[in-house]
């Protein structure tokens, strides 16, 4: 089965859309991982002599109000943005899988109580929930991770629950129970593995959204605290120089937009690859 999932990924990457977006995302991840070595300058090296310089050969993306190299800050910022959103979505997916699977499989009062709370949070925009939570926890990256994780919890819980509920009525599940299987075997050997693919695809798409959310929180000054760069925080500090040094706000903005677009494209390619397999299976 692991072979099949790898096959779907391979198929996704081999398409034009999947290939281009996959390559971009791979570059981004490499950039984030090796940020200290790849940045041309230390991200926090100030040089007040070269404030707000336009992009040039020495500073490819220009400098900001403190004369810091924008490219270096963006590379390090990618590290913040990616690690925050991936961690947050990872936590959210794990929690969502546990909650959704428990609710969908066992039902009953627990399901009703959990789903009422989940539906309640579902009816607020993620940004509102995140803002509220950060206000409670206090600013800082940990707060942002928790806020994003909880903001997306409703989505993954509901998706997992629906998947589990429909898979529960499959004949092979009844067949396993009639062999004498207990709940754990049914859940972990049949239901969750079959429910995983759509949840993972949703998680990938949500990571794009989470990057925007992280940038928004950073823009409000609620995320990474200076001097740690993040794309959102960079844009925030860039607003003051919007007309003097537009690159300080535009380039991180472009990075956010491109990343989200490519994540979505890659997600589409994976969905298409998975669908092809489903059709093949039916035939």
């Amino acid at each position: 089965m692991i072979k099949h999932r790898a096959l779907a990924l391979l198929k996704a990457v081999s398409t034009f859309k999947g290939g281009i977006s996959g390559a971009f995302l791979l570059l981004l991840v490499i950039g984030a991982l090796f940020a200290p070595w790849l940045s041309p300058y230390p991200y926090d090296q100030q040089d007040l002599g070269i404030m707000n310089q336009a992009p040039s050969l020495t500073h490819l993306f220009g400098t900001d109000e403190f004369g810091r190299d924008v490219l270096s800050r963006m590379i390090t910022g990618a590290r913040t943005s990616l690690s925050v959103s991936v961690t947050a979505i990872g936590i959210s997916v794990l929690l969502g899988l546990v909650l959704g699977a428990t609710c969908g499989y066992f039902g009953g009062t627990f399901d009703r109580v959990v789903m009422t709370v989940i539906d309640l949070t579902w009816s607020f925009p993620e940004i509102l929930i995140a803002l509220m939570l950060v206000a409670i926890i206090g600013p800082g990256l940990e707060g942002v991770v928790i806020a994003i994780a909880i903001a997306y919890l409703a989505q993954f819980t509901r998706l997992t629950r629906t998947q589990i509920m429909s898979l529960k009525s499959e004949t092979y599940v009844e067949a396993t129970i009639s062999l004498g299987a207990g709940h754990a075997h049914v859940l972990f050997s049949h239901l969750l593995p079959n429910a995983l693919a759509p949840v993972l695809v949703a998680a990938m798409l949500a990571t794009g959204d989470a990057i925007i959310l992280e940038a928004t929180l950073g823009f409000f000054g609620l995320g990474a605290q200076p001097p740690t760069p993040s794309w959102g925080a960079m844009m925030s500090s860039g607003t003051a120089q919007l007309f003097i040094a537009p690159w300080v706000i535009l380039l991180p903005g472009l990075a956010v937009a491109l990343t989200v677009v490519f994540i979505n494209l890659f997600g589409d390619a994976v969905i298409a690859a998975l669908d092809v397999r489903a059709k093949f299976r039916e035939a």
Partner: protein, 329 residues
Amino acid sequence: MSDLLTVNGLSRRFSDGGLFRKRKTFHAVSDVSFTLKKGQILGVVGESGCGKSTLARLVLRLINPSGGQVTFDGVDMASLSRGDMRRLRQRMQLVFQDPYSAIDPRYSIRDALLEPYRVQGVKPKSTDETVASLLDMVGLNSSLAASYPHQLSGGQKQRVGIARALALNPSLVVLDEPTASLDVSVQAQIVALLERLRQELGLTYLFISHDLGLVRYFCDQILVMYLGRIVEVLPSDAAPAHPYTRALLDSTFEPDPKRRRSITRLAGEIPSGYDLPAGCAFANRCPRVSDLCRKVLPTLTSQGSGHQAACHHPLAAVPEVAVDQRSVA
């Protein structure tokens, strides 16, 4: 021979509706009793909605009854703990109607065949040999072990389903329409396989089907169900006494144009299992209906040795009459 399975007054009701709709009760199985001796094949026949599949699941306790008792090899299943029940499942297995969905699509045939052992915590001596011998037992080539369900034909998948059910050496196998979604030639293969396995392994079958012709061929004793109740219990070579069984038999076409059936116009179709009438459930379609039938529910009464029918006006035991329809028309 001793009794392997005793079912007594088994019932199952389902309720739905609630807040905005009148609560309705669906009688899936009502007051069903029978015994199944070791080595016997008992057929349960009826049309959709007669409760035969629910009965199969009640017998295996995959769903809990609303009333009544199931005793398997002297043990009352209701008295068992969850763990004991799970262990008992080794001895009673189910083969499904739809072989296409009875195997997890992500499992290879090998994994599917080893799952029973994994579930029961039994370690087979050699997994490769076990898989090969299971496949061989149901007439499949052992090279299929590495395949996935979608690569197999319906008949092959059903053979895998049977092999899986037999992996843990059960005593009782419940066959829930095992051939209904297969071509006739494949059906014949599966039936022959089931017959061979029964003799080799000393199995007892509860065979559920909508095909009275097949049940009469394959089973020793037949239960005919209509809307959740047993309307007739008959040896497979006996002429039916209940008008419904007669109608079922007349609707089963034999591969012989000389024995064309004159279709008795069985008026109407099966009513819903909700709001059952007070009397006989078959009354509104029965050619022999009387006022008594509409008021009083008939109980099973003896029609000869091993033969019971729940009918106020049973048919006399007459040999089958074949009518050549063309000579009438």
